[in-house]
Symmetry: C2
Subunit: 471 residues, 2 copies
């Protein structure tokens, strides 16, 4: 490094470094810009003439003139005929604000729900699929793709949904999106455009997500209670909703499967009300006691938008989901997707298609089913030992359970106290839209991203809080 | 294959195939569902008893009972105590509509604008970057990421934007998105929330994209004319806009660079009006006559949202872009991004970071600059030969040019006639918001995705239409 400092005017400290390999003109431009930005050169201030600066820095005058011309073109400098070059009015930046320091705490066991086992993401399989996709991708596929999603992926998804979810799936009626949240947002906008004014959602449920998406679409969101048979269709019918978001296979978060008569009642309601059922099929791949209940979509493909995602089956970081929709909604949904972001990344779509086609996706799911089944057992074993009196429900599928705390227990207190013991617990009340004094205290225990050993240790540590005995 | 057909009742043709490897129960369920969906089993129709069907198909009765129970849970069948199992009311699907047959025509030369050379996408570099990213990605990164984008990519982008675009770039003020269209949509929503009611845009320009995004955000969009110095800031000031979308480095589509005094006037307008400048920095990487003009953002980082994308520098299929914004908008933009889709795919973000960091991105850009410069020369050469009287402008940067047709020429006719000669030409009028009889007929000639040879051949073929002589 051999910086050569200019000395005139003294406040303009410009340096060029001939050993850096960066073009001298670029260095000089950068130096002047920074001097203006940081306030070392102030608005209206006169710059040295190009001749003067060239001499001071040992550069050619032409180079300095080019630099000034560039910065004039960018609006940092002004030159008037017969006058000196000056810093342009308005060419100054506010100081950057201080950044808050982030502190992340490590937990002994984190029963956070909604996350699959992140360490099990099949990295090698995914890289293989990306490579295969890139290798076989036609050049035209690097262009903007179809807004509704790549045809190859839609074909593969339709087959998968028919086979695994008993869906009535036609690739023409699938719109690929970046996961459930985007899909829900697009669907609610399309329904708002079609005249829907109110969307209902299950309570407890994803009230924050649905409420946010509804408000962005200009819709009112109303909660409908869930009982041990699933959503209360009679209560739903008493609202003015013409759309409802449901989780029939494994209600989120109570874990109940929608009872057969309720399924039929829901479809009947949709037909009579001219309404749309948005089926959030979030964790149907993981069912332990029997085959997963088929998608509601298969029962009423003309009334259901079935949403799927790889956020639970692979990883949230991939941001890939899909909507299987009634034929007449495929066009409007694709147009909303196009307006929103011009389509999901093509290489990722093709990689997912290869992953499913090749059987690697199924293999991964089988492996994960075993993993989650073992964690489920570990959780039940730990709870049976440390909190034997506490009922646990909702465990037929997925990777979360509902723990029913003793009447009168304080959810918030237990969650806070557990955090102090380095255990992440999460209360049901954050998932409730309607909270009353009679609302039973419950915990939603996620076991997707916590190992068997941590499950056992974590439950032992918080046993006292759960009304049981410490291990 | 050894199908065994049931014969009772005759209309229920169910088969199980013991050699297929698929579980018999799954096959049976599938068969009944399909029979219901396709109408072979009608609503209310009685199914054979489980004993009867088991005997017919040579299956165990328990298996058939399980199958019926599953389909009952899914809502396809109903069973009432003491009565036969029947097809449930409402369990039937509408027929799939016929699909339109798509015909894609191959062109001799396609001067479509807005697309880079798709065949030059650096597949091997990208795969390397994805692999490197996956190899070094911490397990936690497979979770939902930061809504505003991965910290590593924001750091790399800030460095890149400082270095290449002379931007005042802080990683804390960058929000990663899925390309320009999504970024624009998010930005307009944030501005609408902040009380902005009208957004202005350049005419000619991306009126359809901006109009669509504005309407989705509940904003009014007003066109402002562009002359040979760029957007007319006086005309802008006469509107009630408090936001404007501009392309200062290389106006889209006229190709003029915003004149220095206009840059300053624009910033001054934004300060006085308390307005935001949305800078669409779409093709600044490719400038032929000198260094690219620095981003407007560097001049007024408190007033500019600078949008960037890899759609021109790498490929549209990647769907990655970014917004560098005033400090106080970073939070609201990140929240909009979160609501919209929970963030851009993390592995893709990390791959882009590796690609830039490693120097491979710069190397690709250098290669492409040479490619586009050669195509630009080929276009100018062909036009000089075949339509020497036709002025061509806007060629200082990017990969499109504006061809000025003879006064009185009919854009639409020329475009249509060229298509019949297998040459894709595109008229300027589709990019104009205000069209009058005095609007000069022009073509926007994209040369990003068309080879040198095709450029020469294509122009020769349409020479007669351009007022020149055929080759």
């Amino acid at each position: 490094m051999s910086p050569e400092w200019s000395s005139s005017p003294p406040e303009l400290l410009l340096a060029v470094d001939r050993t850096s390999g960066r073009p001298l003109r670029t260095q000089l431009e950068h130096g002047v810009r920074e001097a203006i930005r940081t306030g070392r050169l102030r608005v209206g201030e006169r710059l040295p003439s190009s001749r003067e600066l060239a001499r001071t820095l040992g550069l050619s005058r032409g180079l300095v003139q080019e630099c000034y011309a560039q910065l004039q073109a960018e609006g940092y400098l002004v030159t008037r005929p017969g006058s000196a070059t000056r810093v342009a009015a308005g060419a100054a930046a506010p100081a950057a604000p201080a950044r808050p320091g982030g502190a992340s705490s490590r937990l002994l066991a984190d029963f956070r729900w909604g996350v699959p086992d992140l360490g099990s993401f099949p990295v090698q399989d995914w890289l293989w699929a990306v490579r295969e996709a890139a290798r076989t991708m036609p050049v035209a596929a690097f262009d903007y793709g179809e807004a509704r999603g790549n045809a190859a992926l839609r074909e593969v998804l339709a087959g998968y949904l028919r086979r695994v979810r008993a869906a009535a799936a036609d690739p023409e009626h699938i719109v690929v999106c970046n996961g459930y949240a985007q899909g829900l947002g697009l669907a609610l906008r399309v329904l708002a455009d079609a005249g829907v004014r109110t969307v209902a959602f299950e309570d407890p449920g994803s009230s924050a997500t649905i409420g946010g998406a509804a408000s962005a679409a200009g819709l009112r969101a109303v909660p409908v209670p869930v009982d041990e048979h699933g959503i209360d269709v009679r209560a739903l019918a008493a609202t003015d909703a013409r759309a409802v978001v449901v989780t029939p296979a494994h209600q989120w978060p109570t874990g109940v499967a929608l009872a057969p008569e309720r399924r039929l009642a829901l479809v009947e309601w949709a037909r009579q009300r001219d309404a749309i059922l948005i089926e959030d099929d979030y964790d149907a791949e993981f069912r332990y006691d029997r085959e997963p209940v088929g998608a509601l979509q298969g029962l009423a493909p003309d009334r259901v938008i079935a949403m799927g995602t790889v956020s639970k089956s692979l990883a949230p970081a991939l941001r890939i989901g899909w909507m299987l929709c009634p034929p007449e909604l495929a066009g409007p949904l694709a147009r909303q997707k196009h307006r929103s972001d011009r389509g999901t990344a093509t290489l990722d779509q093709l990689a997912l298609a290869r992953l499913i086609e090749s059987g690697r996706f199924d293999r991964h799911l089988r492996r994960m089913r075993a993993t989650y089944a073992a964690r489920r057992t570990a959780l039940l074993t730990a709870l049976a030992e440390h909190a034997p009196a506490m009922p646990v429900t909702g465990l037929a599928a997925g990777f979360h359970a509902v723990a029913h705390l003793p009447r009168g227990a304080d959810e918030h207190h237990i969650v806070t106290a557990a955090r102090e013991l380095s255990v992440g617990l999460y209360g049901m009340s954050t998932l409730r839209a309607a909270r009353t004094a009679a609302t039973p205290p419950q915990l939603v225990l996620g076991f997707g991203n916590v190992g068997e050993r941590a499950i056992g240790e974590g439950i032992a540590v918080v046993a006292g809080l759960l009304g049981g005995r410490a291990g």
